[in-house]
């Protein structure tokens, strides 16, 4: 393997690790087990010979941002998975690295903690001016958090681009298979009533069963979207009319892309296609339930 790595136009391929300006957060956190949370976070600052007051100030700052100020005196072994991951993030961020390298940071967490941490990461990225390289196997996570997404296949980059690029214009069959089976949207969730929110995605207002407010990512599984030629009076809270723009056969099922806009991908059987007479250009109605939308 050959190549070089540059950070801020400086070749760091042969620099010693402590001069590279890259902080790592591993999947299993790698907190120093013999130090308290506070000393873990202070490690990089002490190595940089910061003044004591400066260290205290920056620890307070970062631990408030990540809401871990109540954990400072604890030992890493007493923390939960999500707490450990936040401490590892704090430890890496407090040194103000040029690049933050996250190696599958959320894959070891339980689903609920993972969703919360995704929001925290998005929040951190908004608030701090740091380049984050986030390695993940979770395509939705990549799309939700990334400004640019690189899809790797067997050690080679299959596609680089914005999440929407990758989702809507996959460069190869590999990327397509990876991306096609998802409907992912970014929106702002607004309060409707306890347990419900409305979310605007490019002119379309979705009804979502969630308690999250503010910026969210929404996904609908293609098999959860019902297609019909007429509008239906049903328990589905979301109904929109659109035009079939693409039909892809995948074995015995079909992926139908319907442009409302935006595009929705629906999974239907070939029987259903015949009965509805679906083909490109046909106008159809989409229906999906508020509970079928996953918000994070």
């Amino acid at each position: 393997m050959r190549g070089s790595i540059s950070v801020n136009h400086k070749d760091i391929t042969r620099s010693v690790p402590e001069k590279r300006g890259i902080s790592i957060v591993y999947q299993d956190q790698m907190l120093f087990p013999h130090l308290t949370v506070k000393d873990n976070i202070a490690f990089g600052l002490r190595a940089a010979k910061c003044a004591k007051q400066e260290i205290g100030r920056r620890i307070t700052e970062i631990s408030e941002l990540l809401r871990i100020d109540h954990l400072l005196q604890r030992r890493p072994t007493t923390l939960s998975g999500g707490e450990k991951q936040k401490v590892a993030l704090a430890r890496a961020l407090v040194t103000e690295p040029a690049v933050l390298l996250l190696d599958e940071p959320l894959s070891a967490l339980d689903p609920h903690t993972r969703e919360t941490m995704q929001q925290e990461l998005a929040e951190i990225h908004r608030q701090l001016d740091v380049t984050i390289i986030h390695v993940t196997h979770d395509f939705e996570e990549a799309v939700a958090l990334g400004d640019r997404v690189a899809v790797l296949n067997q050690g080679e980059i299959a596609q680089v681009g914005t999440p929407q690029d990758v989702l809507r214009h996959p460069a190869s069959a590999f990327v397509a298979d990876f991306a096609l089976s998802r409907n992912v949207f970014t929106a702002n969730a607004e309060h409707v009533s306890e347990g419900y929110a409305s979310a605007d995605i490019g002119g379309l207002t979705l009804m979502v069963a969630t308690d999250i407010r503010g910026p969210v990512h929404l996904t609908v599984r293609p098999e959860d979207i019902l297609l019909s030629l007429e509008p239906l009076h049903s328990s589905a809270r979301n109904a929109f009319q659109g035009t079939v723009s693409e039909i892809l056969e995948r074995g015995s099922v079909l992926y139908v892309t319907v442009t409302v806009p935006p595009d929705f991908v629906c999974l239907i059987t070939s029987h259903a296609r015949e009965e509805l007479g679906l083909q490109e250009g046909v106008r159809v109605w989409l229906h999906f339930k508020a509970t079928a939308i996953h918000a994070f």
Binding site: V16, P17, E18, R20, I22, S23, I24, Y26, M30, F32, P33, H34, F43, G44, A47, A48, R91, A92, T95, P97
Partner: protein
């Protein structure tokens, strides 16, 4: 209930194994315990006040400490490199490092004489800077170190191996120099292995007899010429018989037993937390 269950499960297999295991325990523990209780505390106290004995024990402990300290300075880096780097012939090298444990002690003494004798490579080199080894405390320290340092190296190497190398990588990525990483991360996490290796090395050092008998019999120490305790015991046994050697043997066994068991229990205890 748990106790009952154990009894229910008791069978020929457990019975035979228990008998054999007990035989081994009796074999190991009886000599130690019987020796410890064979002399009255009064006799042992009187023995301790004997100038020869007193100085000998003091010198033995002191030389053991010196050997362990030199062993730490040179052995910990070796252990660290062995734990962190792979190279061709590493396995052979690791076997060779353990060789001092297994070669006959008197042969070890002769081997040391071959390099630390006055006319020999190390001997000559150190002679220039005023350090002699034959029948000096330096010789005692060298003999002790040679036969006991593999214990320290092995234990410390295993300790470093059990520390995830990614902890060091994280420390480096946070801006710590290699030195800082070693002192603040690698060593604190290996501390227990280093301590228990040092205990083992010290205990093995003060027990050495064969190599010291050949390299440094009686050595100058505070104006006297004591021998190390294991040699003193042998001398008394040889010159005056079992009864003369007994109280010193008891004293030395009790001291090393207490030091060893106490320190071992202490480091094991930390393991629990």
């Amino acid at each position: 209930m748990r106790r009952t269950r154990t009894w229910v499960r008791f069978n020929t297999f457990g019975f035979v194994f228990l008998i054999l295991a007990l035989a081994m325990l009796v074999f190991i523990l009886t000599p130690i315990i019987k020796t410890c209780f064979s002399s009255s505390p009064g006799t042992i106290w009187k023995t301790l006040l004997d100038d020869d004995v007193y100085l000998s024990i003091l010198m033995t402990a002191f030389c053991g400490l010196l050997a362990t300290m030199v062993g730490l300075v040179l052995g910990v880096p070796l252990a660290y490199l062995l734990a962190r780097h792979d190279f061709c012939g590493k396995r052979l090298l690791e076997s060779l490092i353990d060789v001092p444990i297994v070669i006959p002690h008197s042969a070890a003494g002769i081997a040391l004489l071959f390099v630390f004798g006055k006319q020999q490579i190390f001997g000559q080199f150190f002679y220039e800077i005023g350090l002699r080894f034959v029948d000096t405390m330096a010789g005692v320290v060298v003999a002790m170190m040679f036969v006991s340092v593999p214990f320290l190296i092995d234990s410390t190497r295993d300790g470093f191996k059990s520390v995830d190398v990614r902890l060091e990588k994280v420390a480096r990525s946070l801006g710590a120099s290699p030195w800082r990483t070693f002192w603040r991360v690698s060593l604190p996490l290996t501390w227990r292995s280093v301590v228990s290796g040092s205990i083992m090395m010290w205990a093995r050092a003060i027990s050495e007899f064969g190599a010291i008998l050949i390299l440094a019999y009686h050595v100058p120490f505070f104006g006297e010429h004591p021998a190390v305790a294991p040699v003193l015991i042998f001398e008394r046994f040889n010159n005056f018989g079992l009864d003369a050697a007994r109280p010193i043997a008891v004293l030395v066994i009790v001291i090393s037993l207490i030091a060893f068991v106490a320190l071992r229990m202490l480091t094991n205890k930390e393991e629990g937390t």
